[in-house]
């Protein structure tokens, strides 16, 4: 019998796992809070343009989106430029007036975020803006990404 017996620590070599569900739950709750489930199915293509002098929209609850871009036809093909509000394409551009007016009544501090495809023409954007003026939703925001401008 050797004299030198290996000393063994008496403590158990285990990470305590009892608190693990709590930690996981905390992470879970964090992600649940920050998650914004995608609320609309995009039917038009929107490639954002870039700009430098932009601001953040702080109050996301006030924002209503209008999407303008070429209609997605599937199979990588795109149709004419269309306007989408919420889940539906708008056929009659004059209907925007009433739609946005109703939204304004629900939320008087409404901000309309225009998410326009960079290749759209100004004609349709302007038509939508005229409708917004008629509806009284005057605060708008041209959605852009931060970044260097595309060279002209």
């Amino acid at each position: 019998m050797s004299k030198f017996q290996k000393k063994q620590a008496n403590t158990k070599q285990q990470v305590p796992t009892a608190a693990m569900p709590d930690i996981i739950f905390m992470l879970l709750i964090f992600f649940m809070v920050v998650t914004v489930l995608r609320e609309v199915e995009l039917q038009v293509r929107v490639d954002f343009t870039r700009a430098d002098n932009i601001e953040k929209i702080e109050q996301k609850r006030l924002v209503s989106y209008i999407y303008i871009g070429p209609e997605i036809l599937g199979g990588g093909r795109y149709g004419d430029t269309r306007v989408q509000i919420d889940d539906a394409l708008v056929d009659d551009i004059y209907a925007i007036r009433r739609l946005m007016y109703d939204k304004l009544m629900e939320e008087p501090r409404l901000i309309v975020s225009l998410r326009v495809d960079q290749q759209s023409e100004m004609g349709i954007v302007s038509d939508v803006q005229q409708e917004l003026r008629e509806a009284g939703t005057l605060r708008i925001n041209y959605s852009t990404l931060r970044g260097a401008q595309a060279p002209m």
Binding site: L27, F31, N53, E55, L138, A150, M152
Partner: protein, 185 residues
């Protein structure tokens, strides 16, 4: 009759699987989360035009006309310009009273109006580039004024005061007019 006293089972929810369930949920939320911030150029549209009311008279020198055609060519007050000159031109025009005091440019920053007009065929991208430059010019002016008056950048100043007390904003209001586009060719 015998009444057997049953030994009660201890009602316990098994805890071992809890972590797994939480993990599953966690992974689900991790996957669907998109932490995106909405950024963009904020603008205030003018109220709808009143047919009974004539638009207020504007002196010609207080108006800067920017035209952008479908090919991205820029015309400022009838003269051709390129995009990277726009910022300086806007600054010179708006802040004329404190700079060159050119009799053809604006009388006062508060009266200066920058009008942007496009063709219907102008790509949105070009329009935003244009707007970006104009906003950038105003931002620079406000920054300079804020540094001069208070010694801090405009962004910090803006965070300190309420919207109504913002004297820099009053000094350089962003009067940007978005004209209805030309039908074009």
């Amino acid at each position: 009759m015998k009444l057997k006293k049953r030994s009660r089972e201890v009602a316990e929810v098994p805890q071992a699987g809890m972590a797994d369930i939480a993990f599953l949920l966690l992974i689900f939320f991790l996957v669907v989360t998109t932490i995106d911030v909405d950024t963009g150029i904020g603008m205030q549209l003018p109220p709808p035009p009143d047919p009974d009311q004539e638009p207020p008279p504007i002196r010609e020198r207080n108006l800067m006309n920017i035209l952008v055609n479908a090919r991205g060519q820029i015309l400022i007050n009838e003269e051709r310009a390129s995009l990277h000159e726009v910022r300086q031109l806007v600054i010179d025009f708006v802040d004329n009273a404190n700079r060159a005091q050119d009799p053809n440019l604006s009388e006062d920053p508060r009266q200066a109006i920058v009008s942007i007009k496009t063709d219907r065929q102008t790509p949105y991208e070009i329009y935003i580039d244009m707007l970006d430059e104009v906003i950038g010019a105003y931002r620079q002016l406000r920054d300079e004024a804020s540094m001069r008056e208070f010694g801090i950048p405009y962004r910090q100043y803006q965070a300190r005061v309420s919207r109504d007390d913002n004297v820099i904003r009053e000094m350089y209001p962003q009067n940007i007019s978005l004209a209805e586009p030309d039908p074009g060719s």
